[in-house]
């Protein structure tokens, strides 16, 4: 499976300019609401038409503005899972699943039975969608898509309308259900946990542009630029002044950071994740910051501290430091740490 797309389209507030190609079977697109990621999916499905560009799946041209090819959504063989599932409200579960089938009556009934079994919908065939739970609805929607064997399945924020408990359960189910699907799946989401869990390859979008692309784990480890780092969940950023190839001054934090790796000329920010700070009591060592506690918040499984660098000359914003429960015991024993340490391999150098 291979998919490549170049999509250009003028939108209300910005222009969508997306260009990617991938051989991966599980692709994630991460971006804030309204960054153009849904429009990208809709363009691939043929629901929206780009101003220009091209979309090719498995060597099959679905859209090409140069040669004026624009296959109808009906001809693209691409499944689209809508956020609200878009089940047909007046049709029963069985009729919903059969909606996209082209064969004769007997074949279709056979196929529906197969899908009902596979997606554990036994006994619900004659129910209407409104009578089903959220999880059942999702399974019907997937069964409806899988029934006609699309080349690509697009998942448009499939979990964003669900509460936390259900979300985890449905994510697990979704991964299971898609396990033996041979085609490509593209999932769009604003939830970094969701795409991290789901995708092998990741695109990060901001304001209609792709700001980072590559293997998912690699991007979370080294986002490369500030926008990508923020979308992968990094909370703390500082402008920097590069002293030499191994030393930088974090202007907003008022400290010097010494690194073993080389600091590129093009680096203009440093980022650090809120969970990665290491509390230190006693002696000050390298790459540490002294701080004043500004406020804190108690959560069920962690505590969030909002701190200010002690150095007043730093124009700094609040720094977030999140401590998980198991580490809190140490804090309770020793009291507030004197310093917070930055670990070299967790420091993000950003363009």
């Amino acid at each position: 499976m291979a998919i490549s797309a170049e999509i250009h389209r003028k939108l209300n507030h910005f222009a969508l300019d997306v260009c990617f190609s991938s051989k991966s079977r599980r692709i994630g697109i991460l971006g804030a609401s309204g960054c153009g990621k849904s429009m990208t999916l809709k363009s691939i499905a043929g629901i929206e038409v780009p101003d220009s560009g091209n979309i090719v799946v498995e060597g099959r041209i679905l859209f090409d503005s140069d040669s004026r090819i624009n296959l109808k959504p009906q001809k693209r063989n691409i499944g689209y899972l809508f956020q609200n599932y878009a089940l047909f409200p007046t049709m029963t579960v069985a009729k919903n699943i059969a909606a996209g089938l082209k064969g004769n009556r007997k074949e279709n009934e056979q196929r529906v039975r197969e899908m009902v079994r596979k997606f554990r919908l036994d006994g619900l065939e004659d129910q209407l969608p409104a009578q089903l739970s959220g999880g059942q609805q999702q399974r019907v929607a997937l069964a409806r898509i899988m029934a006609y064997e699309p080349d690509v399945i697009l998942l448009d924020e499939p979990f964003s309308a669900l509460d936390m408990f259900l979300k985890d359960q449905l994510q697990r189910e979704m991964v299971q259900m898609l396990e033996d699907y041979r085609g490509t799946v593209i999932m769009v989401s604003h939830d970094r946990d969701e795409v991290y869990r789901f995708s092998d390859e990741l695109l990060i979008m901001e304001q209609g542009k792709i700001v980072a692309a590559g293997p998912t784990k690699e991007i979370f480890r080294r986002p490369g630029n500030k926008a990508a780092a923020r979308l992968t969940g990094c909370k703390n950023f500082s402008r920097i002044k590069r002293r030499d190839s191994h030393t930088l001054e974090a202007l907003d934090w008022g400290i010097l950071l010494n690194l073993k790796r080389e600091i590129g000329e093009d680096i203009s920010y440093v980022g650090y994740r809120a969970h990665d700070f290491r509390p230190v009591w006693g002696e000050r060592g390298e790459n540490m910051i002294r701080f004043d506690l500004e406020s804190s918040a108690v959560l069920p499984f962690e505590r969030n501290y909002y701190i200010k660098p002690e150095d007043d000359t730093a124009a700094g914003e609040v720094i977030c430091w999140f401590v998980q429960r198991e580490k809190l015991e140490m804090m309770e024993k020793c009291g507030q740490p004197d310093f917070l340490a930055f670990d070299e391999d967790k420091i993000l150098l950003l363009r």
């Binding site: 499944g79 047909f88 007046t90 009578q131």
Partner: protein, 234 residues
Amino acid sequence: MEEIMEILKELDWSPLFISLKTGVVATVISFFLGIFAARKTVKAAPGKKAVIDGILTLPMVLPPTVAGFFLLLLFSRRRPLGEFLFEEFGFKVVQTWLGCVIAATVIAFPLMYRNARAAMEQIDVNLVYAGRTLGMSDMKIFWKIVVPTAGPGIASGTILTFARALGEYGATSMLAGNIPGKTGTISQKIAMVIQDGDYLTAGIWVIIVMMIAFAVIFLMNLISGKKMKNIGRW
């Protein structure tokens, strides 16, 4: 009481059948035309939409006699269209039952169209998109998904259309006239006997009309209520 029995015995029932026939035919025509027009308008671009919508709704806003005036202008045999219809197909509209149907349809059609359109605009557009990505033709999507989902709105539009067509008076009297046994509808009959001061006959017809109207609405509510019980509306 005896007087009423006397009148009932000698009553000419033709207005009832003419009205019912007119109402049913006008409703069937309006049903399909209204849904078709609603579909076109929902799909149209905003500017175009406003213009089409204005034209289609006009008959409901104008006094029926104004609609009747235009219909006469259009269908009179002294006018090009009326002449053409008569010469080529032998259709006579003015002073015929066909005129009754056309007048009732024109007046009642906007009710069907507006209700159907409002119901269709409520539909989650993702349902249509889902149908397309599933490979369903636009025709199939419309009749299998859009119309059933818009069912309650379309049903109430149909009821109102039938009620309006059944009672049409102004345009009908101008285009079709009041020929007993041919174009004499219940509404026209009531107006006519009132002019003669025959309140008793008028009253009988009024009761008949009220019973029909109530029966129709009751029936439709029963059907649509049963069918739509399990469908969540959003």
